[in-house]
């Protein structure tokens, strides 16, 4: 499978990438690791006329501490995220989630910014960001705006990211020692979640239970009110209307959400 023809441009800085985006508009797509975009282009589900490669934009890489938050450059690859001492210490759920993405080769290429901007509701990192209550820094011609994870995802493969903006960095709370639980149900070892559940710090997020990674709010409230993991998890699927496909119908996904939430809460509570 061969992508449709396109022009390939290499951005040298974030400002340069924004200039190129402004010049080419909706015909252009930003290329990070390319592990969501290139498969779509090979299937001709996407056919941008211009690719703007961010691989030389060093200011979009790197992981640092900023007060009680970790700041993760959008071009940070999954393998780097999983191996980072800062992330493993301050946001171990995120390091674990990064290690669940695809397989080693995919983790060598895929980036956190690319995964979040792609916004697949079945993916690991969007669910992890929502569970952690993190945020994203979006850089555009007018400057930088910070959007909470809960407000970033708007639909299947859709976010609030504007056509003239780039996702520059990801912020997550740094909470060393805070317990967490992470569950992912798949049929194949390296697949997307049929359903996923992640719990930490009183928040519970679900993957593939709707068009965006969703919070299990009823279960969160029950857990906060002193319910056992099993009792709270019974409410995990409340208000969800997951899609149906060859892997699972709606009732099975809701069953999985309850089971995986219970396991995630049990793991979190040790």
């Amino acid at each position: 499978m061969i992508p449709a023809p396109f022009d390939y441009l290499t951005a040298t800085s974030a400002a340069h990438a924004l200039d190129l985006l402004g010049e080419h508009g909706e015909d252009a797509k930003l290329l990070a690791g390319g592990h969501s975009l290139l498969p779509m282009m090979k299937l001709r589900l996407a056919a941008p006329e211009v690719l703007i490669d961010l691989r030389r934009v060093t200011e979009l890489s790197g992981i640092s501490s900023d007060g009680d938050e970790l700041v993760i450059g959008a071009m940070t690859r999954h393998a780097e995220l999983a191996a980072s001492a800062l992330v493993r210490d301050g946001a171990p759920l995120l390091a674990h989630a990064a290690a669940q993405v695809g397989d080693p080769q995919i983790r060598h290429r895929g980036t956190i910014g690319g995964s979040l901007a792609h916004a697949d509701p079945a993916a690991d990192l969007p669910m992890a960001l929502v569970a952690l209550g993190g945020s994203v820094e979006l850089r555009g011609p007018a400057g930088i705006r910070t959007v909470a994870a809960d407000d970033f995802f708007t639909g299947y493969f859709e976010t609030v990211l504007g056509p003239d903006e780039l996702l520059a960095a990801v912020r997550v709370p740094s909470a060393p020692g805070q317990p967490w639980g992470y569950q992912k149900f798949t049929r194949r070892a390296n697949d997307w979640a049929i359903v996923g559940a992640a719990a930490t710090g009183g928040r519970i997020a679900l993957a593939n239970m709707g068009p965006v990674p969703v919070r299990a709010l009823a279960a969160e409230r029950a857990a906060a009110g002193g319910a056992s993991a099993a009792e709270a998890a019974q409410l995990a699927a409340e208000g969800t209307s997951p899609g149906e496909d060859i892997h699972a119908d709606r009732a099975f996904r809701q069953h999985l959400a309850r089971v995986l939430t219970r396991r995630a809460l049990e793991h979190e509570r040790g």
């Binding site: 390939y8 290139l38 397989d103 080769q105």
Partner: protein, 161 residues
């Protein structure tokens, strides 16, 4: 567009289409046919090569993205007729059946051992998660990688003496 990169230690400079995938560049432009096109969907790992020492699936990398970087294919392992430790271990342990997945397996294993020279059996199995053997010959493949790791330990111990 002009792309400059290094393949198996040799500098290359070629005029390619931006949409040319790395696996097609290697196979069709350079005649390096070890990396196979299997699933063509980033799943099977038959096209695995090393990019700056890290395993990647070359069906999902543009040649343009590899510019300025070092690509290693199975042809670049070993030295002439002498096999690399991983290649030798695959032969010794019969870590192949039909052979289609083998170049990708060998490259993924080479990348894995570079990152973790002494993996456990579980780490080998997880480290090869991105490579499918449709003959289901996994047991001997895992045995081969463990044998290569053990051989590497002996070599480095001898080199240290």
């Amino acid at each position: 567009m002009q792309v400059n990169l290094t393949v198996n230690g040799k500098p290359r400079s070629d005029d390619v289409e931006p949409r040319l995938l790395l696996v097609h560049y290697l196979r069709e432009h350079l005649g390096l046919r070890a990396a196979n096109v299997g699933c063509d969907t980033t799943s099977c790992g038959a096209c695995t090569v090393l990019l700056d020492g890290k395993s990647v699936k070359s069906c999902t990398v543009l040649t343009a993205q590899a510019a300025g970087q070092e690509v290693t294919t199975a042809e670049g392992l070993g030295d002439g007729d002498s096999l690399s430790p991983v290649q030798a271990a695959f032969r010794q342990e019969h870590g192949l059946q039909c052979g289609f997945c083998t170049p990708g397996m060998v490259m993924a294993a080479t990348g894995l051992l570079a990152e973790n020279p002494h993996p456990t059996e579980t780490q080998v199995r997880e480290g090869l998660e991105g490579n499918f053997c449709r003959c289901t010959g996994y047991h001997n493949i895992v045995r081969a990688v463990l044998a290569a790791a053990a051989a590497g330990s002996v070599e480095s111990a001898e080199a240290g003496q």
